[in-house]
């Protein structure tokens, strides 16, 4: 297997025993800084300022995102909003944050609609592998959790949000457990806690390497048992407002009916997640199909400020080979359990538990300086020496703790317990996002936000396990704030959009980009109005095809 890398694999095997007990090379702060500035994608000048909206001329955004923030609405010109659904609370987004908000609103007497572009649960949450942080260890405290996350975020974290995150950690684990999440336990019945990059004590709870799946399938099941009206395959196209600066609902696109639906709501919770599918600088991504940053664009048009969006997380260990798995996540927990990062020469070139941004930069540096391994598809990566886990922790450890990794690679005849896997950084997490206060309120009345779409909490580098905690803590908090502060129903207008469009025109020579993007470019998917679809159907109806029964087991 991997015959093409035979020479390098031999070097790696030859150095393995010597590496086993050798301490990992630790970059000092000057070296780390140099690695970031020279090699981390955030620092290479692929950003610019935007010309319109609340952050105009202020901070920088990745080029791909800046284009979308300045873009125009996909609504038909002349579209007049008229409420077709009336609800008290409209949640936009069906991942962990949105589902948590829906559960928190249950029993309040308010009517709740949850709209999601794909299906309930299709999200970055379900793809999270490594775990969720909570200060439950004997030597741990929420203050220590806070200190770790603040240092990891380069001190840029909003301290008030971060304190809430860390203080609510234990309570969030209790809440998830009561819903039926099964986090791994030790034989003594206490939660099994692992280290993560930048944690000073073991603090990461997990369900093997399917932690996000465990949380999402439980949340999804629980939400289906509430009175929440779930609108699947309903894409948020635009937010509407009352003409006096308050958000009062949204215009959705029903993908199955092929038409828009205008929802009037007393409160809107934006939980639309991240934007890895923008594929910044051509990077692969570990994100789900819907992660196109739609919520950022919608909120920005309404006047919400954005923060730290010049900062994205490139997860150091994305799969690089086989090609079919390129960009998919190989959890950090593999590294914290003992797999080393090794270059083509068999050299353990950096501590694999360095902060994610530094490690990603260091991997890019190795490949840029010719110490990477080239795949038959032309990609270049470095080794993650997974067989070391069983060497260090005993035979069978890898398979027991990481069934997901084994399962994904086995169809390619790669057994990570026996041979290393090739990795390269993958676009993983949107560190920045919409500015919120400690109650998840945005700059605009009537609009709350929670989860990956928000910014400030994680500073400029998020630690492993803090995003699953984020969606739980702030998903609940946004709903609790809505319960306390819900306004009366208002008119539905496109006043803010009109104002934004006027500003766009003033900027002169504005580009024709329509936004949000809704789907990844590579997918070629578009919102299809029913009239278009019908015509296509008519054309192809002469070619009617009946599938044969495929069940010939």
């Amino acid at each position: 297997m991997m015959e093409w890398a035979k020479e390098s694999l031999e070097k790696l095997k030859a150095s393995r025993l010597a590496r086993l007990d050798q301490p990992a090379p630790q970059p000092d702060s000057a070296q780390a800084e140099a690695i970031l500035k020279q090699y981390h994608p955030d620092y290479l000048g692929h950003e610019r300022k935007v010309a319109v909206g609340p952050n105009a001329g202020e901070q920088e955004f990745p080029l791909e995102l800046a284009q979308l923030l300045e873009g125009d609405s996909s609504l038909e010109p002349g579209y007049l909003p008229k409420a077709e659904i009336e609800t008290d609370v409209l949640i936009l987004g069906g991942g962990g944050a949105g589902a948590t908000a829906a559960l928190t609103l249950e029993g309040s007497g308010l009517s709740v609609h949850l709209a999601t572009k794909l299906r309930l649960g299709d999200s970055n949450t379900v793809m999270a592998e490594g775990g969720i942080q909570s200060a439950l260890g004997d030597d741990d405290s929420p203050r220590r959790h806070f200190a770790d996350a603040l240092v990891g975020g380069h001190g840029d974290n909003d301290p008030d949000l971060l304190r809430i995150l860390c203080e609510q950690g234990p309570e969030s684990i209790r809440w998830l457990s009561q819903l039926g999440c099964l986090f791994d336990q030790n034989e003594d019945g206490r939660f099994s806690l692992r280290g993560g990059g930048g944690t000073s004590v073991p603090r990461v709870l997990a369900c093997r390497d399917y932690t996000g799946l465990e949380i999402m399938r439980v949340l999804k099941d629980a939400v289906r048992l509430t009175g929440t009206h779930i609108l699947e395959e309903h894409v948020a196209m635009e937010l509407v407002d009352d003409g006096k600066g308050r958000v009062t609902g949204a215009i959705l696109f029903d993908r199955n009916a092929g038409k828009t639906v205008c929802v009037s709501a007393r409160a809107v919770i934006l939980a639309t997640g991240g934007s890895g599918q923008l594929r910044l600088q051509g990077f692969p991504t570990s994100n789900h199909v819907g992660a196109t940053g739609d919520g950022l664009v919608l909120a920005y048009r309404q006047g919400c400020r954005l923060i730290h969006l010049d900062s994205y997380q490139y997860h150091p260990s994305g799969a690089c080979y086989p090609e079919a798995l390129a960009g998919q996540l190989v959890t950090e927990a593999i590294r914290s359990t003992g797999a080393q990062v090794v270059n083509a020469e068999g050299v353990h070139f950096i501590d694999e538990m360095a902060y994610r941004d530094v490690l990603a930069g260091a991997i890019i540096k190795e490949t840029a300086e010719g110490r990477g391994v080239k795949t038959p598809h032309g990609k270049i990566g470095i080794w993650l020496d997974t067989p070391m886990i069983d060497l260090k922790k005993g035979a069978g450890t890898l398979a027991r703790q990481f069934p997901g990794l084994i399962h994904r690679f086995e169809r390619y005849n790669i057994d990570p317990a026996m041979q290393p896997i090739l990795i390269y950084p993958t676009l993983h997490y949107q560190n920045g996002g919409i500015c919120i206060d400690s109650e998840c309120r945005t700059d605009v009345a009537g609009l709350w936000a929670c989860g990956e779409v928000t910014g400030g909490l994680h500073g400029k580098n998020r630690l492993m396990g803090n995003s699953l905690l984020d969606i739980t803590v702030f998903g609940r908090r946004s709903a609790e704030s809505v319960l306390r502060n819900i306004p009366e129903r208002g008119a539905v207008t496109l006043t803010h959009l009109k104002r934004f469009q006027a500003e766009r025109e003033k900027m002169g020579g504005s580009h024709k980009t329509l936004s949000p993007k809704f789907f990844p470019d590579a997918s070629k998917m578009k919102l299809k109005p029913a009239s278009v679809e019908k015509k296509q159907e008519e054309k192809s109806s002469s070619n009617n095809f009946e599938p044969p029964n495929p069940f010939n087991f």
Binding site: R143, L179, L182, E214, R217, A324, H407, M525, P550, F553
Partner: protein
């Protein structure tokens, strides 16, 4: 190993694909993304269920289109599975509670279709038999990697709902756990004051020390 163009069929229509890419990416490239539902495209959401036939006579079966690489002559049929109604889990579950929540449990005829259909290699039928005996811890373990694609339920002639029962067992056991989660310590407020100092640079310096020693340095 280099990429090669091959022909595959989606619902009877022939398209070109590159070896090494998954069915989902081949459909994207061909502009036919919507012929199969997608969610995560990473093998954990269960949206992209399909059935397959091979041109060389090998037995086809069910797959996730996002995980399955294309092969020359492969025929693909979309096989979306609708959600089933959720069933409320209960703490301290017993066999009788499971039986009344899922009356079809006893109907399993041990045909093994569910196990064959599972894209996660879960021993589904064996686990259904364990459910019939009330061996819930083993069942919870079996369904650790379940992505709820629904294929095991979809292929069952006897309307058994293995994945729904698997989740019900897992949630029910989870709710039954007795958790000791510690209360906040007395030193908390003083430490927060120390860490939440107004000056951002000083805050970072203090955090760097505190995370190592877990105490306020004089």
């Amino acid at each position: 190993m280099a990429e090669k163009t091959v022909e595959i069929k989606i619902s009877g229509k022939t398209i070109q694909a590159q070896t090494g890419e998954t069915i989902v990416h081949a459909l994207w490239a061909a502009g036919m993304a919507e012929s199969v539902k997608t969610g995560c495209a990473g093998g954990v959401c269960g949206a992209c269920t399909v059935t397959l036939r091979y041109s060389d006579g090998r037995t086809g079966g069910t797959e996730l289109a996002c995980m399955k690489p294309v092969e020359a002559g492969m025929e693909i049929f979309p096989c979306p599975v609708a959600e089933d109604t959720a069933v409320e889990p209960v703490a301290n579950p017993e066999l009788s509670t499971l039986q009344s929540a899922f009356p079809t449990l006893s109907r399993c005829t041990k045909c093994g279709s569910c196990t064959t259909a599972c894209p996660m290699s879960i021993p589904v039928m064996d686990s259904v038999l364990r459910m019939q005996k009330g061996e819930f811890s083993a069942v919870a373990e079996d369904f650790t990697t379940c992505i709820h694609c629904g294929l095991c339920r979809f292929v069952c002639e006897d309307k058994v709902k293995p994945h729904n029962m698997g989740l019900w067992v897992r949630r029910s056991l989870g709710m039954s756990r007795n958790l000791a989660i510690a209360k906040t310590q007395a030193s908390a407020e003083q430490e927060w004051q120390y860490l939440l100092v107004e000056d951002g640079e000083l805050r970072l310096q203090r955090a760097k020390k505190f995370r190592q020693s877990e105490r306020i340095e004089p």
